[in-house]
């Protein structure tokens, strides 16, 4: 039961000949909520993409659920929430986009069945978008689009949820809505979460473990944020106060316009 969900052994990734991720070793165990922190260019998103097989790793080994990435086929156990919405999906409805999450569980040429419809309805209800199922993505706010991406990942009924900067580009109130959502979700579904964050924000309470990357190397691996915080280089300057404490985020969002 306690076998690692993600197992990284000396993983190095290069993009265009440049080393981006260097020699990362870490195991993520079931039920952990792991934040991958680091400055821009620290390699956190590249490492995430390597875990998903979207970029090849040049050295070391990556295993998902004990299976080497190259031979891993059980992708329904993994739910991916990308940072950006592909503009090609703007004309589709929320239900259609969320429905693509069911594809690993469906056979070609067979229309979706009752279980697919139930899983989609459940995912939509969990992110509080049940009343928007027939709305086009282009008519949604930034926060609703983010929740659509989460519902799409949930429709797969995953065990591991992989999220790329879910807090980027949405206002503070939406960030807190997302944090509340994630708290409920991880408990209800018993999810293991690997999330890339630029700053912990309202997710700070959820995170059980932090991996801090600097120049592609793992410089901190431990519980929560408190211990990682002395490395203040990864915090944007507007949040660094004269205190060393984390400045709590305020639910006023006038300084952070909604994206799009």
């Amino acid at each position: 039961m306690n076998a690692p969900v993600v197992s990284l052994r000396d993983v190095s990734v290069g993009l265009g000949g440049l080393p981006i991720v260097r020699g990362i070793t870490a195991d993520i165990r079931p039920g952990e909520f792991v934040a991958l922190l680091g400055a821009n260019g620290s390699g956190k998103t590249t490492l995430l993409r390597a875990v998903l097989g979207l970029v090849p790793h040049h050295r070391g080994s990556i295993e998902l659920f004990g299976e080497p990435l190259d031979s891993f086929r059980d992708w329904r156990r993994v739910g991916y929430v990308p940072q950006h919405i592909d503009p090609a999906m703007l004309n589709s409805t929320v239900r259609e986009v969320v429905g693509t999450g069911r594809l690993p569980l469906r056979r070609p040429f067979v229309p979706p069945g009752r279980r697919d419809r139930e899983a989609i309805a459940r995912a939509l209800a969990e992110v509080d978008l049940a009343d928007r199922a027939r709305t086009r993505i282009s008519h949604l706010s930034g926060g609703q689009r983010r929740r659509t991406m989460i519902a799409r990942a949930l429709a797969t009924d995953p065990e591991l949820l992989v999220m790329d900067e879910p807090l980027a580009g949405v206002d503070l109130a939406t960030q807190e809505t997302l944090a509340g959502l994630m708290r409920t979700l991880t408990q209800a579904r018993g999810l293991t979460v690997l999330v890339v964050l630029h700053e912990p924000g309202p997710f700070a309470d959820l995170v059980s473990r932090t991996l801090l990357l600097q120049d592609g190397r793992l410089v901190y691996d431990g519980a929560g944020f408190e211990l990682a915080l002395p490395h203040e280089h990864h915090l944007p300057p507007e949040h660094v106060s004269s205190q060393t404490d984390w400045v709590p985020s305020y639910p006023t969002s006038q300084d952070q316009p909604e994206e799009d």
Partner: protein, 329 residues
């Protein structure tokens, strides 16, 4: 309806309705992938196939299909493997197709290339029709049966990869289906205009429909309407059917613009519910009294840069100086 008693008109109508049905079913993925001009290019490549057939004295349709599929695979390979120079590579392939086709048909001494460029209702043989029907049914079954998967691949390729879908295979499948649909349309719409039948009905239906499936079905309906109308019109006006088909489709597109605006406004209005994320800026809160001036020598409150000013932290909140008073933030 006496025109339906002519066998050549019956063949032309069946062929046109089928191509009107298929072209948008595949075009919808081409449009989503923002490859709207791919159809044009494949049409040019198919012209080389027609030229080759005229030169060798074989049936144009099968040769055009084979050459167009070969071109489609080459184009997709270029797109997947060398993105940087792909643009120029495509352009050369397209011009080469058209030039090669015109040159080879000239060598063959056949003056009939025009009928393949803009369609011709009188030239569809029984053999052509059988091939059109069989391949149309196959293309329709594949594109509709795999619609969910092709939709996922064409809307979010990276996510589709993380679902474990064979994204590369589906990308090839889309362009091969496009090559088949284009070649089948050469007798009705013609190879120079067929791309419009893949793109314009989809563009029109996207203005009107809500979502992918809705717009797929509507695009098929618009395609059938334009193709059928174009064939009948070309009989009466003795004009090349391709031109009429495309003009009809564009007419529907133009009409869809104002209708779509009204529909969208109505849909939005029916959904004007309170949105949880809508942010109301906090009221202009002032602090009544303040014992000292922040930033002065006796101030020990921690500071935080907040947009264009400095906030001072105390008693669990932030505030900043605003003229002669402090605002709570």
């Amino acid at each position: 309806m006496e025109i339906l008693t002519y066998p050549f008109m019956q063949r032309a109508l069946v062929a046109a309705l089928l191509t009107g049905l298929i072209a948008p079913t595949i075009g919808i993925y081409i449009v989503q992938k923002r490859l709207s001009l791919l159809g044009d290019g494949l049409g040019h490549v198919a012209i080389a196939g027609v030229g080759l057939a005229l030169l060798t004295g074989t049936a144009p349709l099968p040769v055009a299909i084979v050459v167009a599929i070969g071109g489609a695979i080459l184009i997709e390979y270029l797109r997947q493997h060398q993105r940087a120079s792909g643009d120029v590579g495509l352009a050369i392939l397209f011009y080469g197709g058209l030039a090669g086709g015109v040159f080879m048909s000239g060598l063959a001494g056949a003056g009939g290339l025009n009928q393949y460029l803009f369609g011709s209702i009188t030239t569809i043989s029984n053999g052509d029709l059988v091939m059109i029907v069989v391949l149309s049914v196959v293309a329709l079954v594949v594109s509709l049966g795999l619609a969910d998967r092709l939709f996922a691949v064409s809307t979010d390729e990276e996510y589709a990869r993380t679902l474990g879908l064979p994204v590369g295979f589906y990308n090839y499948l889309i362009v091969v289906l496009a090559a088949v649909a284009i070649s089948l349309s050469m007798r009705t719409v013609g190879l120079l205009l067929v791309s419009a039948l893949m793109v314009v009905p989809v563009a029109a239906s996207r203005n009107l429909a809500n979502g992918f499936w809705h717009s797929l079905l509507l695009a098929m309906a618009i395609g059938i309407l334009a193709a059928g109308g174009g064939i009948v019109g070309s009989y009466y006006w003795n004009a090349p059917p391709g031109a009429l088909i495309v003009l009809l489709a564009i007419g529907v597109f133009v009409a869809s613009l104002p209708i779509g605006t009204v529909l969208t406004r109505r849909r939005r209005r029916s959904r004007l519910l309170p949105v949880a994320e809508e942010i109301v800026p906090p009221p202009h809160q002032q602090v009544e009294q303040h014992p000292h001036v922040h930033g002065g020598p006796d101030c020990h409150h921690p500071t935080a840069q907040h947009a264009d000013h400095v906030d001072y932290l105390h008693d669990g909140h932030r505030h900043a100086m605003h003229g002669d008073h402090y605002d709570e933030h």
